[in-house]
Point group: C2
Chain length 352, copies 2
């Protein structure tokens, strides 16, 4: 393969994976994507619909394998078939509530699976990786904005969050054990929005766990009303404040992380927040979405959800300084692109 290098993207058919692949292809990386398709729509024996559209958007090809990272033999085959310069590791289960219900499935997929992937990487001498982590590793914020120095792993109240923290620790230990590894941990705040084309976007199966897809499904008439979990938080309007980041900004952050890993002198393991540094409340988002879509968003305020914090937002300075990355899109962009995706694909990938 030609271009800047060959990337293995695990979980490549998912929301963050597919948007990142667009940016990789646009930056002349070659991409091999794997996914077990448990949360993605694909016609039988075909490429997942999200990646089919990525190819349409970019007019470039993605090599795809239906492979689960827990399957060592299948992973080995992929590593034998291609010479990877770097792995971008998205593959994980990610529903907080579900992780409380079926923790072993989460530990098996996210930790045992990652650990198997890292072993196969080591055995094939591929030691560069960008890991899809989360601001959830910070637990309950001890101070705001959250810097990368904020303690991690304390007060992670759900198995999903713990798996992100544990995998970060595993990668740190791998770097300590072998100086050839180069690792970047990207701690996402709240990715929302969709590709500007409206052709790909977030496509949760069942009831959305996250705010934006929920708002969007209410706006399009697929759900009756939004439930707002608590309006008595210590925030300007009482609803929870989060750092929403446009998925395209987030995706570009991965390209910058690759540039960083490829800098001479880069070594070991570094963590970077990917957020805008600005916090918006649930009500802010509802109003912005209503404005952009021209739709009334029906909502009902209900009780707080266990484990939710009042506010969480990033200090985004380190990524600016070291990755030369900054989020450029605001909440109107986020709402506009979500809405475009929703209107074009009212039932997600499957309904089209």
């Amino acid at each position: 393969m030609a271009g800047k290098g060959v990337m293995l993207v695990t979980g490549g058919a998912g929301y963050v994976g597919s948007h990142t692949i667009i940016q990789l292809l646009n930056n002349n990386y070659s991409v091999v994507a794997i996914d077990n398709l448990i949360n993605c729509y694909a016609e039988k024996n075909k490429k997942p619909e999200s990646l089919r559209r990525v190819e349409e958007i970019t007019n470039k090809k993605v090599i795809f394998y239906n492979v689960d990272i827990k399957d060592r033999a299948a992973l080995e085959k992929v590593f034998k078939a291609h010479k990877f310069d770097c792995v971008i590791h998205f593959a994980a289960l990610k529903a907080v509530g579900e992780s409380v219900q079926i923790p072993l499935t989460y530990y098996q997929n996210n930790i045992a699976g990652s650990s198997t992937l890292f072993e196969v990487m080591r055995d094939n001498n591929v030691k560069n990786i960008v890991f899809s982590s989360s601001a959830t590793v910070y637990g309950i914020p001890q101070f705001l904005p959250l810097t990368e120095e904020h303690p991690t792993g304390q007060g992670c109240t759900n198995p999903y969050g713990k798996t992100k923290y544990f995998v970060e620790e595993i990668l740190k230990d791998v770097c300590t054990s072998d100086p050839e590894w180069k690792v970047i941990l990207l701690r996402y705040f709240n990715p929302v929005g969709a590709h500007e084309s409206g052709m790909i976007g977030e496509d949760p199966s069942g009831i959305p766990n996250n705010l934006m897809p929920y708002i969007s499904q209410v706006a399009v008439g697929r759900r009756e009303k939004l439930l707002i979990y608590g309006d008595d938080y210590d925030t300007p309007d009482g609803t929870g404040v989060r750092d929403y980041i446009h998925i395209t900004d987030l995706a570009i952050g991965h390209v910058n992380a690759l540039n960083k890993i490829n800098e001479s002198g880069f070594k070991g393991c570094r963590a970077y927040n990917l957020g805008t540094g600005k916090g918006y409340s649930v009500m802010d988002m509802v109003q912005a979405f209503s404005k952009v879509s021209g739709k009334d968003i029906k909502y009902e305020v209900v009780g707080r959800r266990e484990g939710d914090v009042a506010s969480s937002y990033a200090d985004a300075q380190l990524a600016r300084d070291e990755l030369n990355w900054v989020a450029t899109k605001g909440i109107l962009d986020m709402c506009r692109d979500t809405w475009k995706w929703q209107v074009k694909n009212p039932k997600g990938f499957q309904g089209t």
Copy 2:
């Protein structure tokens, strides 16, 4: 099988496993042991030597399978062949220094392996487990003595310690997800000594990682001298202070834990320290061993070892109150039994 119940003991051929099996058999439990034998001596196609001797000591039989907990299919077979009342889970890699060198092997064995074991337990409706944890989960002590309420997972500096902490968290989450599980986490301080018969004991391969086998091998002439890592700690004689516990006391603690799990009303996940509550320094142990063995223990003081703390000892009150368990053996017992084992088996199990 008859008796009080059928126990699956993972890592049953190891140091703590084999001593615990004696106590289980003596208390009329039936035992099925599994072990992957990577740290145990067994003649080809025979029962591991440690378990052969357990049978000789107790005049009872142990069913043994050469099974690795990472091997789901093999575990399934064992669970289909027997109806277990409880699992006692010892199987783990345990060398702190090695865990820094080959972290992925530790994460794969200790976390992925445990997670697979728990899934097989769940699938076979075996939901009682005693887990072999460690005081290492407390990290650097924030206060002494260490109570079970001391924070865990903070400042665990090595992958071995992290795996114990992570497995504790996994088991807590499993209990939250399914109230049928009954879990006891036993946090060992520093197990030493040997069965009073001198027939089984600690048999480290290569250079011992722990103080007592090292002292003992110096006393018997197998090693030239003991290295003492630092004599400038803030302790009475400057050497590190630890809570040593006789392996027989520790083993009995598991029987008490089983009784606790079988109490009506026991539910969820409980952690107990197994220690004496008394701290002894390296020099205390050298002197006691010298006295008991009549041998001069040559030693050399060298620099501190990274990650070592000055003092660590248990608050043993909770196990006393809730498990009705207390350590009864002192350091002279610990040294005497270690010495008996060493003299009878100067080269461990293999040399006999």
